[in-house]
Each structure stands twice: as C-alpha cells, then as structure tokens.
Amino acid sequence: MIIGNDLIDLEIVLGKPRLKNDRFLSKVFTDSEISQIYSQSHPELAIWKMWSMKETAYKAHQRLFQIPARLDPVTYECDLYNLCVIKEQKNYSINLEQDENHIYSWLEFKNLDHIKIPYSTNYKSDFIKEFAIRTDLDLRNIELRKNHIGIPELFLKHLGANLPISITHHGRFAAICFPLINC
C-alpha cells in the first residue's frame, strides 16, 4: 500500500519569507502553481501548504514505484483548491490540516493512524513506544527499518511482516502515519 505524510513547523518557514524569491519559487513551483499562491489570502502560507502536499505525494510516489531520492518538486503538479497532486498521470489526494503552529498533510487513505509527538533526538524510539501502546504489541517485536532506497517500514518480528510507515519531522514537531492493523 502507498502512504505518505509531511509536516512543517510554521515558525521556521514563515520566519524566512519566500514570496519575493523568484528563483526559489521557480525551482519548486510551475507558473500555474505560482498563480494559485498569489491568489490566496496568505500567499506565504500557501507556499508551504503546497510544498507539504508535494512532499506527501513525492513520498507516496517514491514508495509506489520504489524510486531513489530525487529533488524534483516542480514535477509534482499541486492543486490547492482540489487538494490533489498529479505526478505522471497519477492523481494523489491529499488531506491537509493546519493551525497557527504547523501544517500536516497526508495521503488520503482509509484506516490510517497518526502519531504526533514533539521532536527530540530520540523521536524514532518515542514513535515506536507510542506505536506499541496503540497496537498493544510488545516493544521488542518492533523494529524500524529502511529499505535499500531509504523508505521506512516497521518490521514486526513476531509476524515476520513489514508495515509501511511514513515519517516526517520539522522544527518542534514529528509525526508518523501507518495503516491500522489487527495483530
């Protein structure tokens, strides 16, 4: 299954305005996306909503086709009105939530769960602890792994199975999303 999420700490990104930075915009957005940004009441915020949607779609697309990491944001065509991103004829529907502190986006999919925690250097083990509580699994049976191209998954030792997960962190926040499972 495909999965993807992305998180942005607004304190960091809004502290460095990008709207007047044409070179940055042209490396990340198409002309039509730049028009969408300018049509929003808060264009700086729109930049990061769209960036977050693109990142989410990138992670989903990368997992689906097992593509090594690339920096090609402009090839992910983002539609902020319809909350979708198109990449090579694939249409990714994105959910987006936002408050004054952060933007969080994830690939729309049934039966997903999310864990959001404050970022710390131990955030990955914090996730696993919380995951174990929510799924009622033994902590010792859970191992966070990355596959050969760096895509994360949780290896559930007692089941000999991998669970796809998506991980994101930025500034003060970290989040993972994963499919709900019956163990």
Binding site: R23, F24, K27, W51, E55, A69, L71, D72, H170
Partner: protein, 83 residues
C-alpha cells in the same frame, strides 16, 4: 578551481542547513545531503540557490533533480562552469 576547492566551498554552503552535524566530520564526495547531513528538502533547494550564487552558474531543474550527494553537486558545478 580544484576539486578540493569546490568540495570545501560546498561544505561551507551546506553547514548552516545541516541538522546532523556529525555528518560534517566525514565530509567527502559520497556524503548524502538528506541521509548523512539530514538537510530537509526545502533547505536543499536553498543549497542549490547558494551554489548558483557562489559559483555564478545556473542549475536547471533537471540538474537539480539528481543533486543528492556532494559528488553530484561537484559534477554539476564543473559541468556548468565549463558550459
């Protein structure tokens, strides 16, 4: 400009965006910006812009796509300087 000069300039550029500072102590052409230095992807676009300014070159989006390691960046810089 020697290979060493270019790599040292790249190091100066990426240092402020590097979240995993240990990655800077083993900085060489195999260093991966995302995995070894944990530069977030929006900041990787900033790195590309800073490289353009430092070397007075233009990095098109197609070249930017594959700029994942120090060696990739060095190769793109050399190619653009010789264009």
């Amino acid at each position: 400009m020697t290979n060493r000069d270019i790599i040292s300039k790249i190091k100066t550029i990426v240092t402020p965006y590097t979240q995993r500072k240990e990655g800077l102590s083993e900085f060489d052409e195999s260093t991966n910006f995302l995995n070894d230095l944990e530069i977030n992807s929006a900041n990787l676009v900033d790195v590309v812009l800073d490289v353009e300014d430092e070397f007075d070159i233009e990095i098109d989006n197609e070249s930017m796509e594959g700029m994942m390691t120090v060696g990739d960046a060095r190769d793109i810089i050399i190619k653009k300087l010789n264009d």
